[in-house]
Amino acid sequence: MHKLVIPLLILIPVVLFAQQKPLDAVSIQRIKNSVMQTAESTKTISSDFTQEKEMAILNDKIISSGKFYFKQENLLRWEYIHPFSYIITLCGNVINIRDDGQTREFNTRSNKLFAEINKIVVGSVRGTLLNDSENFKANYSQNQQYYIVNLIPQSEKFRESLQKILIYFDKTDFSVDQVELFESGADHTKITFTNKKINLPLPDEIFDLK
């Protein structure tokens, strides 16, 4: 029995550190303030991303990767490189998609589905979704590396598609490292941002696919 004690003593702190701990109100407000300050001071973001869609029942994963660009206030370029080529850019209310060599334009004013996706994507990546208390209820926790915000849609209709969103904020700089989207079934999508470059010059032209 005593032979198990030392490995357990080593293992238990590791397990405890990996667990998420809830946060008190003061800490939550501090995090919200820091995330907003970071969002306001972040003029541009360039990063690589890896996206994993896990289909639980099928015990399978679809993995894709590419490059992500953001420029204040509302310019976004999401470029998939592997295993397919696909680019989506958001310029205010206008969405452009380049797929299979063809470019199409949509307006979020007339396309509610795109408008909602646009709001969630931009809000998740910038962390500004935390302040959307009208549409999301937020629960806060932390582990050793991240502050984790669990956003639950307030609308029952919305919850039929998306059960919750988890946003992982790096404790060192309050930037978003990871976003997880949980669908109403057991499937979920995890997007991880790596090789992040903040506030480097980005030309507006990369957000225009025409």
Partner: protein, 239 residues
């Protein structure tokens, strides 16, 4: 009243004509080039890309045009049950259907699911379908499309063979469930170009296969002319 009925009949006939998917210009098969030549198969239970024992799963880049919607993303198809090799757990309990069962998942590039179906020879179970497409007529059409594509239709009668005069292609006609089906092959009978089926003009479906690589089509196109649905699949990975 008579003119109203007549105009409706004309309208329906016009629509039926517009949705014709039967290969054109068919005639009897000419004498075989040699004594050893045989028509492709005694029955037309095709396509077999997905019923082949070696098939496990495939990932496609997909785009779907239906009415005002243009959806793009990924289609993932996986064989989850093949009773020819024993009974397996599908995740919903043990099943023995005497054929193959597949899951077909269409999601956008960001991973959000448009639809998730379980397809077998005699049914389609809707695991999830996003609200704008979750209508009975639409689900029926999609079910027919995927059952035809996956080759889960069982053949009820032997194939009748025809020769397409303008192309030299071989066309096999048979019946499956209550659908009439036409399968178009290359002149040599070794490459499947398209499969078309319908029970009424409203559910007419045409599936074409191109860009073959190692016996599997690199591009698949599914069309329902009556509802103006087009689904294009480009193979990204196989097994």
């Amino acid at each position: 009243m008579k003119y109203l009925i007549l105009s409706n009949v004309i309208l329906i006939c016009s629509l039926a004509g517009c949705t014709s998917i039967k290969p054109r210009n068919l005639g009897p098969v000419p004498p075989p080039p040699s004594a050893s030549y045989q028509l492709p198969t005694a029955n037309c239970r095709l396509p077999t890309f997905f019923t082949d024992p070696s098939f496990q799963k495939a990932l496609f880049k997909a785009s779907m045009d239906i009415r005002d919607y243009h959806l793009t993303g990924l289609v993932f198809m996986k064989k989850i049950l093949d009773t020819r090799y024993g009974i397996r757990d599908t995740g919903y309990g043990m099943r023995d259907l005497g054929s193959c069962v597949y899951r077909v998942v269409f999601s956008n590039e960001l991973g959000m699911t448009f639809f998730d179906f379980e397809i077998s020879a005699d049914s389609m179970q809707v695991i999830y379908c996003f609200e704008p497409m979750n209508k009975k007529p639409m689900l029926k059409i999609l079910g027919t499309n995927f059952r035809l594509l996956l080759g889960t239709h069982m053949t009820e009668e032997p194939c009748l063979w025809f020769f397409q005069r303008e192309t030299g292609n071989l066309v096999g006609k048979d019946k499956s469930d209550h659908f009439k089906r036409w399968s178009t092959f290359s002149p040599a009978g070794d490459t499947l170009y398209s499969v078309a089926c319908k029970s009424t003009f409203a559910d007419a479906t045409r599936i074409s296969f191109t860009q073959y690589n190692l016996g599997f089509p690199g591009k698949i196109r599914i069309e329902n002319p009556f509802v103006k649905l087009k689904l294009s699949l480009t193979l990204l990975s196989l097994n």
